[in-house]
């Protein structure tokens, strides 16, 4: 995928008009090469998640343009719905629907959005469920699963619709270290399988491993961006140096 973003602004205004509007993305630009995995890093509140929500077609920016492989993202909700059906998104937590079992969660988008029959959907789920070692948990409800299992089911739900791209918004930040490991391992396998994805994460070691390019986002702009090796070598920007020192020694 080639991602190009031009002058992206996201400003939130208080509907009551009591607080001044907040500018979360402030004219953000980026132009990637033809890559498989882009990782977004940077301090909290810098605009990473807001950017990812726009990329995933969940929010419409105030102004600016975003294009994947030269195709601009739509702005109208009808076209955005169609776009969201071609990609998949995994959030920090609470991705799964608590009233459904893991299996029913996996079936829901296949049957209701992608119009597969239940047997076709089951057929498609069976193999990846096995490969990621989740078959034993298929009939459990989210309340009976560990945080790591929930996230892995959520990633699986995103995968089985065969999206053209996957968006992952800090998929491990709500997990303890042990579970973080199993989720990162799964994302690592996605990389090996050739899945294209944009990942927001604080796991710098992991970012270094899977990213083709890394973008450092702070104050609503891209502070630095480049191929992964360059990014870690070239620590000229004091903000990046500070951020790396904090996150790597945390």
């Amino acid at each position: 995928m080639i991602l190009s973003i031009n002058g992206l602004v996201q400003r939130f205004t208080d509907p009551g008009g009591r607080r001044p509007p907040t500018t979360v993305l402030d004219g953000l630009n980026i132009a990637t090469g033809d890559i498989q995995a882009l990782v977004l890093v940077g301090p909290s509140g810098g605009g990473k998640s807001t950017l990812l929500r726009i990329l995933a077609g969940l929010d419409v920016p105030t102004s600016g343009t975003v294009a994947f492989d030269g195709v601009p993202l739509p702005r109208d909700e009808r076209d955005l719905l169609a776009y969201r059906r071609t990609v998949a998104t995994v959030f920090q937590a609470y991705n799964l629907f608590p009233h459904l079992t893991a299996m029913q969660n996996l079936l829901l988008p296949l049957v209701h959005v992608h119009k597969l029959t239940e047997s076709q959907a089951l057929e498609r789920i069976r193999e990846p469920l096995e490969r990621f070692g989740l078959t034993a948990h298929a009939d459990k409800r989210p309340a009976e699963l560990s945080g790591g299992q929930k996230q892995r089911i959520a990633i699986l739900r995103a995968l089985v619709v065969q999206p053209s791209r996957l968006f992952l918004d800090e998929p491990t930040s709500a997990l303890d270290p042990e579970m973080t490991g199993e989720v990162l391992e799964m994302i690592g396998e996605l990389k090996a399988l050739g899945t294209q994805f944009v990942l927001v994460t604080h796991e710098m070691g992991f970012a270094r491993k899977v990213a083709d390019e890394i973008a450092f986002i702070a104050d609503g702009r891209v502070g630095a961006h480049g191929p992964t090796a360059d990014f870690f070598d070239r620590r000229t920007d004091p903000r990046i140096r500070l951020f790396l020192e904090r996150t790597l020694h945390a």
């Binding site: 719905l81 059906r85 937590a93 799964l96 629907f97 608590p98 009233h99 829901l108 209701h112 619709v161």
Partner: protein, 247 residues
Amino acid sequence: MPRWFAYTLVLALLAAGGAWAFASLDMNWNWDVVWEYRGVFWRGWWMTVALSVASLLASSLFGIVAAVMLRSRFTLAQAAARVYVELIRGTPLLVQLLIGWYVIAAALHMGTDQRYLVGILVLSLFSGAYMAEIFRGGLDAIPRTQLDSARAIGLTPGQSLWLVVLPQAVRIVLPAVAGQLVSLVKDSSLLSVISIAEFTFSARNVNSATYSTLESYLPLAVGYLALTLPLSGLSRWLEHRFRYEAA
């Protein structure tokens, strides 16, 4: 203590207390006369059943529509629903029935045979206002993240309401809705003020014909319990079922 024993004990104590109170009245019970009127009770009871079922369905509908309006982005819809809920909840059903029948129905030149329709409508609007707030609370209790997830997997707004929000909201509102429905059944007794021959109306008629007050009204308690206890039971069964669903 086993459950059946606890219930038996409580009911036995209640019966003993009741028996003592009634015995101390030194009443001359006059059940024979009232028995003569069993047909009147029976017809009234069925009328109450019919009114309750109709109002139960209509008030759920009013409640859902008003709850959605209360949460609407459109200020006019929101204002209309808010005025409806506050006006109805803040005034007595008795007054609403009198205005509904003697003012609004009269202004619309409705015939006397339409009192049943008016009665059901007023009762449903009354109960619907309470339902609206119950449903609104249930919908509000579904976290935003669930809606985000629903959008992210590509569900339409209608699908996310039907497949994600409602199944979770139903579980939350069930106990409160059941309580409201029990109230609705008992509130239907007020329809007697616009001369609808429902259960309470029948008891009042029997009383004025026989002068046997307690004998006329005690069957009323039994008759209403026969309606409200199954409702409570149904609600507990549904709650149990949905809890299992969500565990």
